[in-house]
Structures are given as structure tokens and as C-alpha cells.
Symmetry: C6
Subunit: 81 residues, 6 copies
């Protein structure tokens, strides 16, 4: 993969940070299985399995820890509002 | 998803922080499977599986680590009581 | 759930902190499956499965990380003994 | 459980810290299944399953993170040798 | 393994850090199963399993936490742009 | 186990730190199943399972977080080169 998709871990809001965590989780999958058609087919599988959805949510949670720490938990943004 | 659901990680009490961790865990699922009807059907499945409930509790625990760190573990709130 | 069950993450001793981690782990389950009768039935299942017990212990370990950090690992309590 | 088994997270050496992490992992199981006979029976099961042993090692690794942080990674002990 | 493959955890950009996290994850596998032919065969298996891909993405997420912390989340790089 | 196998978490290089993380992961298994013959037999099993290898790599990743933090991510070593 030569495209640039992760210039920074800094986001304006916690919600954007959560969405970046989702991007990181999907990229982690895509580096292992780059074929888009295969990914689409598999997505319809795990989107209907409670266990697989929980596992996906766990990867997002781990990546969100990283993004949140990078942004010092957006504490200053909260104060300046 | 364009609605705003995560303006801040700061909460008044540890318990509210724990409830935010639950929200984060459910959102992690919802980004992968946005269809509410499917989610309802799956919930009745995993709410009756010990293994699935433990897995769900684990995602909450990981998200609670993030929220608790963001709030400096509510240490000052405890002192001012 | 409107009852107050988590006023603070601060505990007097590491052992009380570990027991709080167990409470957090069970609450993570209870938010998903609030029905007490169902929980009792499921508990007898996973209390007899090595895999499920290990998974439960893992959630406790993750929550204990949070509680231990909140208490600065009870380092000062150890010094004052 | 009313016995005192966790007076402190501080240990003299990393190896003692690792052994404390093992104790924490077993206690996490024991709080869910206190019956010693059942635990013995289950142990013979998972001690012969690669998957279960890896899962057990993972819980130890998580608890060791906590114990190691509590001891500031035994850095000073290393310097004074 | 005597080759040198990990001289540093420092990378110029978050994306290079993410790719290093992938390298770490693969090396974790390779230390257990060094045979390249076996690894190739297994890769075709898990690259077609949603569950296995999610598990792989989780290991990457954990390693990315380490690499991101090592690089102080590339905060300074972001400021100097 | 009475042998001394973990005198310190400090290593000269990141790669040695990663190898220490592997040692920690194996020791976590060995404390639960000390019998070497059983371990050899089980190793041939999970060395041919993509799922088990990913799980093993995850334990290494968690232990590497600990070792890397203990060594302050080898940042100074990188600067002095």
C-alpha cells in the first residue's frame, strides 16, 4: 500500500477520534486481506454475527485508546468550550 | 453517521464514565452494523450466551480504561466530597 | 439502572481494588443482560467451563488495571505500613 | 472470600512480580468458581489444550502489565545491582 | 533468528508506525512457526475468515499502541508541518 | 519453579525486548502446564493453526508493551547511535 491514509493521530473532537479508530481497525484487516471483493463478502458474514460484531468493537476500543491518548483525551477542547 | 453523540470523554462521576464506556462499545458495533432491526435480533442471541456476555463486558472494560484515564480517574472529585 | 453503585475507584487496599474490578466486570455483563434469573442460569454454565472462566478472569484483569492505576498502585499505603 | 491474599503489588524482583501476576489470574478464576474440586477437574482439561493455555498466558500478561507498572518496572533494582 | 529486523521503534510518520505494528504482529507469529511454506498455506486460510482477520487486526492494534507511545504519538511532527 | 529466569526487564535493543516478550509468553504457559513433553505435543498442534498462531502473537504483543515501557521504548539508545 503506497497511498497516504494516516497523516496524523490528532483530531478535533472525540467523535472524529472514534471514527479514526474505526479506520485503523479496518486498515488492520486490509493489510492482511487487500482484496476488496473478498472483504465485501466477508463483511456481510460478520455483520450478522453477534460474536463477530463484538470482536470488531473490541478492536475499535483498543485503537480508540491510542487515538484518545494521542489527543490527551481532548481535555483542552472541553475546557475551551 | 452524522449525528453528534460524543462531545466529550469527561463525566461527573465514575458511574457516568462506565455508562459512557457502554455507549462507546455499542457504537463500535453500530458503525459495523447500522441496521437497528438486525442489531435487535442479534442482541437477543448474545444476551443468552455466557461467552458473548463476557466478551461484551470485556469491550466495556477496555473503553472504561480510556474514559477513566480521560477523567484522571475522578481522583479530585473523590477528594472534594 | 438508576442505583448508585460506583461512587469512586479509590480503595484502601489492593485486594479491595481487585474486588472492585470483579464488580465492574459483573456490571459490564448486567448492563447487557439485566435479568437476574437469566444471569443465574448462565453462571452455572460458565462456572464449569475452563475457557469461560479464563475469559472472565481476563475481564477482571483489564478492570484491575484501571482500578490499580486510579489508586497509583497503592504505593503510598505500602510505604506507610 | 475473607482471607487476605493481596497486601501489596510491590515485589522485590521481576520474577516475583510475574508470579504475583499468576496469582492474580488464578484469583480472577476463583472468585467466579470457588469450588476447589471443580477447579482441579477443569485444570486437567485446559492444561492439555493449546488454545486454553495461550488464553491463560494472556491473562497473566495483562496482570503482569499492572504489577510491572506498580513496581516502576524494577528499574531501580536493576541499577543498584 | 539471528537477523536484525527491529533496530528501533521510532518512525517518521504514524503510517510508518502502523506498518511497523504489522511487522511486529507477523514476527510474533514467525517466532512460533518459522516455516515459511506453512505460514503461506495458513495465510490463505485466515485471509478468508472474518473472525481471523479481526483477530489479526487486534494484534496490530495492540502493537500500534506500543509504537505510537514510543513515538509520543507523533505530536511534534504534526506541529512542525 | 525455583530457577531464576527473569532478573530484569531491561534489554539493550528493541529486538532483544521482543524476544524477552516471547520468553514471558512461553513462561505464562509453562506455569500452567510444566510438563515439557505435553508442551511439545501441543506446540505441533497450534503451530499449524492460523487462529492459534494469531492468539500467540497477541500474547507476545501484550508482553512487548510491558517490556517496551520498562525500557522507555529504547528512545535514548536510538538517539546515541
Amino acid at each position: 500500500m503506497t497511498d497516504s491514509w494516516l497523516p496524523s493521530l490528532i483530531t478535533a473532537t472525540p467523535q472524529e477520534g472514534f471514527e479514526l479508530a474505526i479506520t485503523l481497525s479496518r486498515r488492520g484487516v486490509k493489510y492482511t486481506q487487500p482484496d476488496v471483493e473478498t472483504l465485501k463478502r466477508l463483511r456481510s458474514d460478520y455483520a450478522n454475527s453477534a460474536e463477530a460484531l463484538t470482536a470488531a468493537s473490541q478492536v475499535v476500543a483498543i485503537n480508540f485508546q491510542t487515538v484518545a491518548a494521542a489527543n490527551s483525551y481532548w481535555r483542552e477542547a472541553a475546557l475551551s468550550e
